[in-house]
Symmetry: C2
Subunit: 597 residues, 2 copies
């Protein structure tokens, strides 16, 4: 059985020492998040994740969800009780507006709590995760009347949310969608169509489910400019807030899938179901993107979360499994063999994951803080800068953290040898669960295109330039520091590669967009490496600042410095390959006719 | 449902045009392998794989194997009939010695047939694959009496084989193994112990199962020098060849695993089972390694096979799935959207897999031919050179082709978006099946250590120098060729990186073996890239020679040249990163204490 211990200390180190959470005290909600409160919240979330959710992870995978003849769906044994604890603990709405019953705390904290819960049980954590996304879309775009009806119940977690985009013939290209919305005299719409891959579409955890559904109003334009967003409750709320009749929406079947078995992935049939418009007609994609951006950050966090829990189990196994002797002579001579952690290739594996996780957690924290600034600051300029950062980093976090999350889960599984392939140790489940994060909320190739095709050039490249300026300014300020040299020197080279790649796109992809498309995935990973490298510099600097207070000796901060060096020496050099690939251009990629494949 | 079409044309192109199979006509068995015969054999193998094995692949995954209360195991529906066809077709023994009923054809052909079968149904193909490995070990090391009893039945496939190495506490480090062998007055041994992860350990396909079992004879030395190899039949053969009584060996349970569900992976209990020594006492590992080397090549082929079938399905889906429009303007204006193959990132994905597959198939073919030379040539020097090649390339083929096979299956799955995550299309099964190949027959980290720690320096580096000389000689000979320049120039740079890395090990790892260990995996992949790059040069040259005969225009050979360029521009540059990682050394990898993980 896999185990999990939430990295509360690392989260606190990031908040307190790396990103100086206290400097954001003037933002609404941050005053309530004193260091003690934050520590208490993270401690409680850790406990819930470790003690309640972790033991249910294997059960959820093995048992999966069951659809009954009446279309109802039962979640795995134990999920319902755990969900009740989640609601009772107020976890769903910790960052939701107080007016709807939320605690209004920074979303940065919600991100951290989500990491813990996803590490413990990703399939379970998706239920509140989707609710949070739906809540955000409704809060941003819904009418006051809709908000009053739905938000309090969603913020409390009594009702859960879903997002309904995909149809059998359309996923990425939503312009093709066919689900219809017929206007009714009372201002509502009758929604008809089939949606697939709907996570948490039907289940027994909550008394009601609030579906956000993309559909085309009769007579609306073709393509993406004729799509509207609707709220379609499973059960109609009555005026007094109690539940009334059932709406004409039902789960047609459950998808048989590779992983996240504990989450019900549904085919949803809308058979003239009643819905209400969210925001303006034909502006549904705009409203949905509010939800998508939150969701993409959330999915990036899932990647990190699985990488973290897979790492912890691999590290524990590596210290326990005895096999062979160290290349430089036996290290544990009292044992029949050395634990496999003595082997350099094994340590390389573990450090690769560790170096990713700790920087990824920093990147999420930094960006989530910017998200809080973007939503809460009273200063227009600050808000805009923070929003730029969010827009630029969201596809990077989604794409790079989920690609890394999967690759790292696979590497952690490899540490177990044959034992990693059998279900017992839970490692193969992490791999299967991590895989979906690369696919949903926009497959990672789409994230790369979003970054290269839209985010880079947006507003004359303002966000990109701000990011480059921040990193290069940071490097420049430390140019005289011997202590920081091992970190900023490699970062500087990597940033140079990123700038060269950006320049190459400017010069070669304006007229030939295929050159951008063919290099997009490499660019996203190059960007991710630079961002993670920058995080390692920030972490190393904070660790160096802590060391003297620990009389120069602290296993924890010393490990940060070693891991930072490992990242610089072993992981960051990959930027050169990404640059070479980008600069190769699209010629050989595009030359063969389609039939040659 | 996934489909499969065996790449017979590509196999014939490799044999006839790239590696000039006809030049090996003087080797025993090769005379029988005329071009027509080879084409007929591959055609029949293709048909069997496509029509019989492919339809059983999903069934095998879904249904898996079932162990009954009496310890017997049933394979998935249809496997038994398919296995009968396999035996009736004489497929198991096509390369086995004629004296035991085999056809004595080159093992190069067996490798190709195995690729087809593994693409179609890896879990099924493992049954004959293991039998072939066990046959090889028994043929090389068994007494005449044992060979006479067992080989004819194994060569025909009437009986299947297994290899029993792993125990719960020992896999990589066989020195720890505990299974005991007690000598009996009649020269046999009583074997007692538990073996785990035994593929094809018990099943209903064949009337008997021949277990090759590693065990320690009572009183034998500790460690690897006290291990012997035994043959332990499930049912005792009588002197007339008919089956007698049951031996004391039984399947205790089936492992619940990530993939290859159609293959029965057993815990095998030996409870005083009667076995006979193969080869010398205490020299069991030596004998087992005959089997292991064959098996490692076979596992490398599995990696290629899954990459190939995953590619074929992804390419078909990419040409069929309509979503979005080409970045450079719609290409299929009569359709509601373009097929996704127009998108550069999608083509990059497909070409990455294709460029791997075609070169990997060449590498396997080249090395299998050397294997035939090593076993069949009458010339000592030729045999030695071929054996050197095999020894050097076996870990590269196992490690690189299975890492690539898995990564490529994942990329092919990604082409399907959400549809790749659900079971229906079969893509997620390819991923789960491909994963085991990185683990079994020596996890890939062990392959890397074998390459760096044993194969490089063996016989004063003779095999390595021969490989370097062959590649650099090839490059030099083409230095004046404009046509070959786009291929040999990048290969020359990559070879330079490999030579620098080898030199770095010589200078830095002799006294500090950790420097070798920390760089081993990168070295293996660097080596693999150079080997695949060399294969692309050979392929490109052969394609160029074919083009004039096709009046300069041949979609097939033109595609070879484009794919070769893609490999050189997009995949080979990674050698620089591997070199940088190797040269970073082991310092940051080894510095932290074990507790820091």
């Amino acid at each position: 059985m896999p185990t999990y211990r939430a990295p509360v200390d690392d989260a606190l180190f990031l908040l307190n020492d790396v990103f100086h959470f206290d400097r954001y005290g003037n933002l609404p909600g941050f005053a309530d998040a004193s260091p003690d409160t934050v520590e208490a919240i993270l401690g409680e979330a850790a406990k819930f994740s470790e003690e309640v959710l972790t033991p249910l992870n294997r059960v959820g995978d093995k048992e999966g969800c069951t659809r009954h003849a009446d279309g109802s769906v039962t979640t795995p044994k134990g999920f319902k009780q755990a969900y009740k604890q989640l609601v009772d603990g107020g976890w769903v709405g910790i960052s939701a507006p107080a007016e709807y019953g939320g605690q209004g705390l920074p979303t940065t904290l919600t991100g951290m709590v989500m990491e813990f819960m996803c590490s413990a049980n990703m399939a379970f954590a998706m239920y509140p995760g989707l609710t949070q996304g739906a809540t955000a879309a409704l809060a941003a775009h819904g009418s006051d009347a809709l908000k009053k009806i739905y938000l309090p119940k969603m913020v409390s977690g009594e009702w859960t949310g879903t997002m309904n985009l995909t149809e059998p013939h359309c996923g990425t290209d939503l312009g093709l969608l066919r689900t219809k919305a017929a206007p009714q005299p009372d201002g509502s719409y009758k929604i008809t169509g089939t949606k697939i891959f709907i996570s948490a579409g039907e289940h027994d955890l909550a008394e009601n489910i609030v579906h956000l559904v993309l559909a085309r109003i009769e007579g609306a334009p073709e393509g993406t400019k004729g799509i509207s967003l609707f709220v379609v409750p499973k059960i109609f709320p009555k005026d007094d807030g109690s539940l009334g009749e059932r709406n004409a929406v039902a789960c047609g079947s459950l998808e048989e899938k590779m992983g996240i078995h504990g989450n019900s992935t549904c085919v949803m049939n809308y058979d003239g179901a009643t819905g209400w418009l969210i925001g303006e007609a034909n502006r549904g994609l705009h409203a949905m993107f509010t939800m998508m951006n939150e969701a993409r950050m959330g999915v990036g966090i899932q990647g990190l979360a699985l990488s973290e829990v897979a790492y912890q189990n691999a590290a524990a196994y590596a210290k326990e499994r005895l096999q062979g002797r160290s290349l430089s002579g036996g290290k544990y001579k009292d044992k029949p063999a050395d634990p496999i952690i003595v082997h350099p290739d094994l340590r390389r594996t573990l450090l690769t994951i560790k170096a990713f996780n700790e920087a990824a957690r920093a990147l999420v924290t930094w960006t989530a803080l910017q998200g809080d600034v973007a939503h809460r600051s009273g200063d227009d300029k600050q808000r805009q800068a923070a929003d730029d950062h969010m827009g630029l980093l969201t596809p990077v976090i989604k794409g790079v953290l989920t690609d890394g999350g999967f690759a790292n889960s696979v590497m952690a599984q490899q540490v177990f040898g044959g034992h990693g392939y059998i279900a017992e140790h839970g490692m193969e489940q992490f791999v299967r669960d991590a895989r979906i994060a690369q696919i949903y909320e926009g497959a990672n190739g789409i994230q790369a295109l979003d970054l290269v095709g839209r985010k880079l050039g947006k507003d004359g490249g303002r966000a990109m330039m701000a990011f480059f300026n921040e990193v290069s300014g940071y490097i420049k300020e430390r140019s005289g520091s011997e202590a920081m040299k091992p970190y900023v020197t490699p970062l500087s080279a990597a940033l140079g590669h990123l700038q060269q790649a950006s320049m190459w796109f400017m010069q070669n992809a304006m007229g030939k967009p295929d050159n951008a498309g063919a290099g997009a995935t490499d660019y996203m990973h190059l960007f991710g490496l630079v961002a993670l490298g920058y995080m390692w510099c920030r972490i190393a600097e904070a660790a160096q600042a802590k060391l003297p207070k620990a009389n120069g000796s602290s296993p924890r901060y010393s490990a940060k410095l070693v891991t930072a060096r490992f990242f610089m020496e072993r992981m960051l050099p990959e930027t050169a390959t990404h640059l070479a690939r980008i600069q190769a251009g699209a010629a050989s990629t595009m030359e063969s006719p389609d039939e040659a494949f």
